[in-house]
């Protein structure tokens, strides 16, 4: 930590302030000012021009009666629960890579793991959209080839979902009931490169000797995970979860590109961010969009708070 300066030295060092000015100016102009403007405009009816009407809390009352918005918060909560499951393969992969005895293979797998990152995120999205294509897509061909489709169709008969039919291809992204399942399957096996690397960093402190000792004591692979690895990556799991949740709750790129600005058929894929975007840029209701942004911000803060409070990890 740098020490405070004497008055005399301060007079000599004042030029140092110039070093922070550019950063500060950028942040003020493109982060703080927009944020303040969002708070301010959430109390106005504002179409983006110079005219605006003060309407007090009307945007907020409207938001709480907005069925689409409330539904979108439900959808995003479901997506957050999906996140919990989607984290499992990354943990499994990190643990397996870490348990390998050969450092060389550990490195090779790390590199192979990172390679998919070269594909722009948007391209991955579009490729999945292509996988979901009813007639040409990989997913339906795979289900047909493995006979899984017949299983789904017979399950449909039993439970009466009315979603899977023997004589028609599965309409992944165009049937309302299949939107959420599609958003779940999307990105299978959900290997988050960053996540795996975070877990690997957490596992670093476990040496091969610990595994060997555990093996001598006859500890099985699952118990090894439970008693050795799991306690050490708890912190990383929480961190990863926070990152995933913030990304999921605030994100709307996925829904915008896989579905459309209305969250797909029946609006089943509508999330708050997308509704905000929709209101602002397709309906010109900038004031209302700002209010949605505020509610979203509060929601994210609340989730972060809950996470810090109840998912506490004692180190």
């Amino acid at each position: 930590m740098a020490a405070p300066l004497s008055r005399q030295k301060l007079l000599r060092e004042w030029k140092l302030y110039f070093f922070i000015v550019p950063s500060l100016a950028m942040v003020l102009a493109f982060v703080y000012y927009p944020a303040a403007s969002a708070i301010y405009h959430s109390f106005f009816e504002w179409a983006g021009g110079d005219t605006r009407h003060w309407i007090g809390l009307d945007n907020f009352t409207r938001a709480f009666h907005d069925k689409v918005l409330m539904g979108s918060f439900l959808t995003v909560s479901i997506l957050v629960i999906f996140n919990l499951f989607q984290m499992i393969p990354s943990i499994l992969l990190a643990v397996l890579i870490h348990r390998l005895r050969s450092d060389r293979w550990q490195f090779i797998y790390r590199v192979l793991l990172v390679i998919p990152m070269i594909v722009p995120g948007l391209v991955t999205l579009f490729i999945w959209k292509f996988f979901f294509d009813p007639s040409l897509g990989v997913l339906n061909s795979l289900l047909d080839a493995t006979g899984m489709k017949d299983v789904l169709v017979s399950l449909d008969h039993v439970f009466g979902w009315g979603v899977f039919f023997a004589n028609a291809p599965i309409a992944w992204l165009s049937q309302p009931a299949l939107i959420l399942p599609s958003l779940f399957i999307w990105g299978f096996p959900w290997i988050g490169v960053v996540g795996v690397l975070i877990f690997l960093a957490g596992l670093q402190s476990i040496g091969q000797d610990i595994y060997e000792a555990a093996e001598l004591d006859g500890v099985g692979p699952f118990k090894k995970f439970l008693y050795i690895e799991f306690p050490l990556i708890l912190t990383q799991m929480r961190l990863n979860l926070v990152l995933l949740i913030i990304g999921t709750v605030g994100g709307y790129g996925l829904q915008l590109e896989l579905l459309d600005i209305y969250g797909g058929p029946g609006g089943r894929g509508m999330v708050p961010g997308l509704w905000m975007y929709n209101r602002a840029f397709f309906n010109g209701e900038f004031g209302y969009a700002c209010a949605i942004g505020m509610i979203l911000f509060a929601f994210i803060l609340l989730l972060t708070f809950v996470n810090n409070r109840y998912v506490r990890v004692d180190k």
């Binding site: 301060l10 500060l24 969002a38 590199v111 594909v119 990152l243 590109e257 961010g273």
Partner: protein, 281 residues
């Protein structure tokens, strides 16, 4: 692969792990395979044989020339945004971090708290008013808008990491330089930048990736097709009615080439950079 007895025996004992790991990794690489394989087919071939590569003699190279003509201008725009943005972002962040790390001047505590508070703010919330700010600055439909917003968005995290790093540099170096009459700017160029190569590289890759992959901001900022970055360009391509999958996949692959090249040259930094990305939380 060397066939030393040790590595063979470790392979034998770990084979089940290798199988599971390879299963996951192959599925993750599958989109890449599909992209490459479909890019050489026309629609008719693709419908007949979606899975396997065709005979190289009958590859449809015209898909690739189409893709190059379409994507290269987008790549040029994106490279401009990502390179300028990354360079500016890091340079400003180094100066800012130096300010916080070297001396504790009056108000630096408040400024620091002000920067840290930004970490709580999810950037989506800002996108509506940000659009208005860019509009009033007459920056809509310019690449500079993307550069400036990218630079601003990267400041907090980069300053946070660099400050800790600069504080850990040996103090004697700065004192010696000051004895020799070096100004602060000279100290940044002769001490800080040379000594923080790896960390700067790591941060550079992270912010480069961030700007490279962004499509939400370009989508609302850019209107002219000449200015499209990869993100908007690909969305435009996706919107066409009759899809030539071969052309589209070739375009996707061409869009991935720049990062492929970057990856080959900076593999270690890349892997480390992504691990460091974890700090962002």
């Amino acid at each position: 692969m060397s066939a030393s007895p040790a590595s063979v025996s470790s392979l034998r004992r770990d084979w089940s792990k290798h199988v599971v790991i390879l299963f996951f990794i192959l599925i993750s690489l599958f989109p890449l395979y599909m992209m490459l394989e479909v890019s050489f087919k026309d629609n008719a071939t693709f419908v007949r044989n979606p899975w396997l590569p065709t005979n190289p003699m009958s590859w449809h190279w015209e898909n690739w020339s189409f893709a190059f003509h379409l994507i290269v201008p987008y790549i040029a725009n994106t490279v401009f945004v990502a390179v300028t943005g990354t360079a500016c972002s890091l340079f400003l962040a180094i100066l800012g971090a130096y300010f916080f790390a070297r001396h504790r001047l009056p108000f630096s505590g408040i400024l620091w708290a002000g920067f840290l508070a930004l970490m709580l703010m999810p950037s989506v919330v800002n996108i509506t008013p940000l659009f208005m700010v860019l509009k009033s600055l007459k920056l809509l439909n310019t690449l500079w808008a993307l550069v400036l917003v990218g630079v601003a968005a990267g400041q907090v995290f980069n300053i946070f990491v660099l400050r800790n790093f600069i504080e850990d540099l040996p103090r004697d170096l700065f004192e010696a330089a000051e004895m020799d009459g070096a100004s602060h700017l000279q100290q940044v160029f002769t001490i800080v930048i040379p000594m923080s190569g790896p960390i700067i590289g790591t941060l550079a890759i992270l912010s480069f990736l961030g700007m490279w992959n962004d499509f939400l901001l370009p989508l609302i900022v850019l209107r002219d097709q000449d200015l499209f970055t990869l993100g908007v360009g690909l969305i435009y391509l996706d919107g066409e009615y009759v899809k030539q999958w071969g052309q589209i996949m070739a375009a996707y692959f061409v869009a991935s080439i720049p990062l492929l090249v970057l990856f080959f040259f900076t593999m270690r930094l890349f892997v480390r950079g992504l691990s460091a990305g974890a700090l962002k939380g």
